[in-house]
């Protein structure tokens, strides 16, 4: 129960960060990706700001044997760079560049009620479900 409440609060902080940084706005994201146009460096500062607080968190986590709320750490331990990883990241990059939406901001923007956010999120969910049709995608 504590863990579920904590997840809710962490999600709220994460979503609030996407709001404050304006990363919920696809045009702002595309402004960063458009180096040849009127370049807007904001997204780079968002990533840097996120790393400033995330790096110490992960460093502290590494020193612990278990999370503060109990259970165990679920951190991926693979280090091989394989074809699915790079192909998946490339397909994601293509969709990101076409729309300006990545998963977090798209979900965080659901509350704005903008119709095209629902269009994108529905297609994204369909894309995630379609992955499960692959042999490697089955649980």
């Amino acid at each position: 129960m504590v863990s579920i409440l904590f997840s809710l609060l962490t999600g709220m902080l994460f979503g609030s960060g996407l709001y404050v940084s304006q990363m919920m706005n696809p045009a702002k994201v595309l402004g960063f990706l458009d180096f040849a146009g009127n370049w807007d460096p904001t997204l780079g500062l968002v990533m840097l700001g996120a790393l400033v607080t995330a790096v110490p968190g992960f460093a502290l986590a590494r020193r612990r044997t278990e999370p503060i709320l109990g259970g165990k750490f679920r951190i991926p331990d693979r280090s091989d760079i394989d074809l699915p990883l790079v192909t998946g990241a490339a397909l994601f990059g293509l969709g990101w560049g076409l729309s300006g939406f990545c998963p977090g901001p798209a979900l965080a923007a659901l509350g704005t009620g903008v119709t095209n956010v629902y269009v994108f999120v529905t297609a994204m969910v369909a894309g995630m479900l379609s992955y499960r049709l692959l042999p490697s995608g089955r649980p």
Binding site: T10, G15, F73, N116, V125, G127, S130
Partner: protein, 141 residues
């Protein structure tokens, strides 16, 4: 176009990184949105309640601070509906195949210096940049 907003960018980034830190320290989990959503879609049982709670928070957080008086960022979507659908399918499928997105790989993975996440982050930033260049400056979108 959009003006550079360095202060709100850094503040928002610090909040996102703090959320990722709290999540790994307290829950032992990676705050990767595509992974959390993808998992929620495949396991709606008791194990998945934390996922639903996190995703609910992601939607509620912006609504609450909007209610607290922070001016809402504009949502400007240039892409047409057919392009948005194709983009959504690519983002959904690609983040599952590649095991992560901007949060899981870009923030959490880079923060813990994971070689896979660094490779994924370079790849999706590079492809997105080329895509924007092609649509805006070659095809003249």
């Amino acid at each position: 176009m959009h003006e550079f907003t360095p202060v709100s960018g850094v503040v928002g980034g610090l909040m996102i990184g703090t959320a990722a830190s709290l999540f790994i320290l307290f829950e032992g989990r990676i705050a990767g949105i595509s992974g959390i959503l993808g998992g929620a879609l495949s396991s709606l049982g008791k194990e998945g309640y934390w996922r639903i709670a996190f995703l609910l928070g992601l939607v509620l957080g912006p609504l609450l601070i909007a209610g607290a008086g922070f001016s809402r960022p504009e949502i400007v979507i240039d892409a047409s509906v057919p392009v948005l659908i194709v983009a959504g399918l690519l983002v959904g499928f690609g983040t599952r195949l590649g095991n992560g997105c901007t949060s899981g790989h870009g923030v959490c993975g880079v923060a813990r210096a994971s070689p896979r996440s660094v490779a994924a982050t370079i790849t999706f930033f590079a492809v997105a940049t080329v895509t924007v260049f092609a649509t805006r400056h070659v095809l003249g979108g």
